[in-house]
Amino acid sequence: MNFEIVELFSIILFFISFFGLITSKKALKSIVFTLLLQTAVVMFFLSIGFGENILPPIGEYVANPDYVHRVADPLPQALMLTAIIIGVSVSAINIVMLMTIFRKHKTTDWDIIKKENMG
């Protein structure tokens, strides 16, 4: 399997979700699109250093000297674990704040929330 497709697909996904952020009127949809944006970045990182006949950097492959130069770079995966954890916590805070806003304004429409907060 050609992993350049994954890279390309992650770029496309990134900009699709960015387009979604620009166009979605409801705040909840925006939060979903930020999650999608993070997924695109994670996918991009995981595609780094992957290719044909590359083995995942876990388990017996790492210990076995025969496989060592066929094992994928483990660093992006370690980075992405951190990024996913941070992304989850930030999204959790976002959703909590949105819930409070929803209770106050009874809507998740960005324009209405903005108008009620400005006036």
Binding site: S30, F44, P76, G87, S89, I101, I113, N117
Partner: protein, 529 residues
């Protein structure tokens, strides 16, 4: 050694959480802050001589995470610990909530981390955690909390940071390292056209954090929101935004060949002009100051991208000056708003009668920010404009004129008959002391300007007396013109009232981020590939 500068404030934050609601706990907190200032001065004096490098982990420089302290970063750390000391003395009586002191120390540790680290991914982690810390702090006071400000800040930051992270992924894919210095070395070997996309992605994230022209809509609400304690606003405006400017400097060094200097020069100038026009239309004390932060960051960005040595030094010195006078203004505005129980600039009169020391600190800081002769703003503005051509010089004078006009409006709160009413509250000694110290620093930073610059950046600069006198003349003329414009035009204009309402919502912010990304991609692609 350097890792302790990040770890110790965080550990102290956890430790103090147990008993910082007691008075003795807060005294301990302030003593620790003072000790941190002393330690960062020690680090600064060491880093002036040579770079200090610490590698975290058992690996050597190529694989481990590298913390590095050179002259620039250690001077920023000195500034950070100083501003945090001042603000924690300020909020000694104001805030006895444990969460506040916990977050304050955590914030300090994370900011120092940003100044120290050389690792791209560390910066991502620190920026994300900082965004969470800041969003809790700006919604700190429950009674007038506005969740809309918070959610806008956090979500827009999340999107911007994803841009940054995507760019970092590209850098890692191309160079195979996350270390800034090594990446800068490897990048020179590669084809420039491969670097344009990562540069545009990273710079979109950083420019959002710096609040440059189309991307600043999040800043005024975050920095001027009523629910934030004034000490938090002071740190946000004085210091927090400078961490992004610092990152901008560092990342420009990595992408030396394709750094779009002219683009950022133009954007910086435009940000400066739009910032003060927006500031002129505001009525709220804190919002005026918040919009001025945008304007001043635009000036700093323009100065750093002119490409002249003196302008660069002037821009760096202006970062420090802005930290001093803007935090002084925010802290004193907090006291003023408490005395008068309103934040509307037209309803407040007679601060000098009501609170002479706060008034004195405010006027010193106003002199600093407008670049009055003998004050620190004039020194940095003098160096920024030293070797520029006539066009840039005219633009800089125009920007300074705008600052003068809106601070004539701001300082009108100082004079006249007091409008506070009967209920006069006693003003806290700690607050008077801290605002006055910051105000005096604005003054001494002007008188001993060249010495301060030599102390901070380890470079010798000399000032031309005739040239400085010229600046004094320009200041006097623009003060007169500014006063006339203010009384004859600004006070009666209805156009500004409409600008006041203009602000992007979340979708608009994302769209402006996309526009900025496309612009920088096309410009670097066209001119530098």
């Amino acid at each position: 050694m350097l890792a302790y500068f990040v770890i110790i404030p965080v550990l102290i934050a956890v430790f103090l959480y147990l008993f910082s609601s007691a008075k003795s706990g807060r005294i301990l907190a302030i003593l620790i802050q003072a000790a941190l200032v002393a330690f960062s001065y020690y680090l600064f004096s060491l880093s002036r001589v040579e770079e200090i490098v610490t590698v975290i982990g058992i690996y050597d420089g190529d694989l481990g995470i590298v913390l590095m302290s050179d002259n620039l970063s250690s001077s920023f750390i000195l500034l950070t610990s100083f501003i945090f000391l001042i603000t924690s003395i300020y909020s000694f009586h104001e805030n006895n909530k444990r969460l506040f002191w916990f977050l304050l120390f955590l914030w300090e540790g994370l900011l120092i981390g940003i100044f120290l680290t050389r690792d791209f991914f560390n910066i991502f982690v620190l920026m994300e955690v900082l965004a969470i810390v800041v969003v809790i702090l700006i919604m700190f006071n429950r009674e007038n909390r506005n969740l809309y400000d918070g959610i806008i800040y956090l979500m827009a930051n999340l999107v911007a940071i994803q841009f940054y992270l995507f760019g970092v992924g590209y850098v890692y894919m191309i160079t195979g390292t996350l270390d800034m210095y090594l990446a800068a070395q490897y990048i020179a070997q590669f084809d420039r056209s491969a670097l344009i996309l990562p540069y545009a992605l990273i710079m979109t994230g950083i420019a959002f954090k710096c609040a440059l022209l189309p991307l600043f809509s999040w800043l005024p609400k975050a920095h001027g929101t009523p629910s934030a304690p004034s000490s938090v606003s002071a740190i946000l405006s004085g210091l927090h935004i400078k961490s992004s400017v610092y990152l901008f400097l560092r990342i420009q060094q990595v992408f030396q060949d394709i750094s779009a200097r002219e683009f950022f020069l133009v954007i910086g100038i435009a940000t400066g002009i739009v910032g003060f026009i927006m500031a002129l239309s505001q009525k709220d004390l804190k919002l005026i100051l918040a919009y001025h932060t945008i304007s001043q960051v635009g000036l700093i960005m323009a100065a750093l991208n002119i490409g002249d040595f003196y302008s660069h030094i002037g821009g760096l010195y202006h970062i420090f000056n802005h930290a001093l006078f803007k935090s002084c203004l925010f802290l004193s505005a907090g006291v003023i708003a408490e005395i008068y129980k309103t934040r509307e600039v037209y309803k407040i009169r007679g601060v000098f009668k009501e609170a002479p020391i706060i008034g004195l600190a405010t006027i010193l800081a106003v002199f600093g920010i407008t670049g009055a002769p003998l004050f620190n703003g004039s020194i940095s503005k003098y160096f920024i404009a030293t070797n520029t051509n006539w066009l840039l010089n005219a633009i800089l004078i125009f920007m300074s004129l705008g600052t003068i006009i809106s601070f004539i409006k701001y300082s009108s709160i100082l004079w006249g008959k007091s409008s506070a009413g009967e209920t006069s509250i006693t003003i806290d000694k700690c607050r008077q002391l801290t605002t006055l110290i910051l105000g005096l620093f604005c003054f001494f930073g002007g008188i001993f300007g060249a010495q301060f610059i030599e102390f901070l950046f380890n470079v010798q600069v000399s000032m031309n007396f005739i040239g400085y006198l010229e600046k004094v003349l320009v200041f006097a003329i623009s003060l007169t013109v500014g006063y006339l414009i203010y009384t004859h035009f600004i006070k009666t204009s209805s156009l500004l009232g409409r600008i006041c309402k203009a602000r992007l919502n979340f979708r608009g912010m994302c769209a402006s981020m996309g526009i900025f990304f496309m612009a920088i991609l096309m410009i670097t692609g066209y001119f530098y590939s």
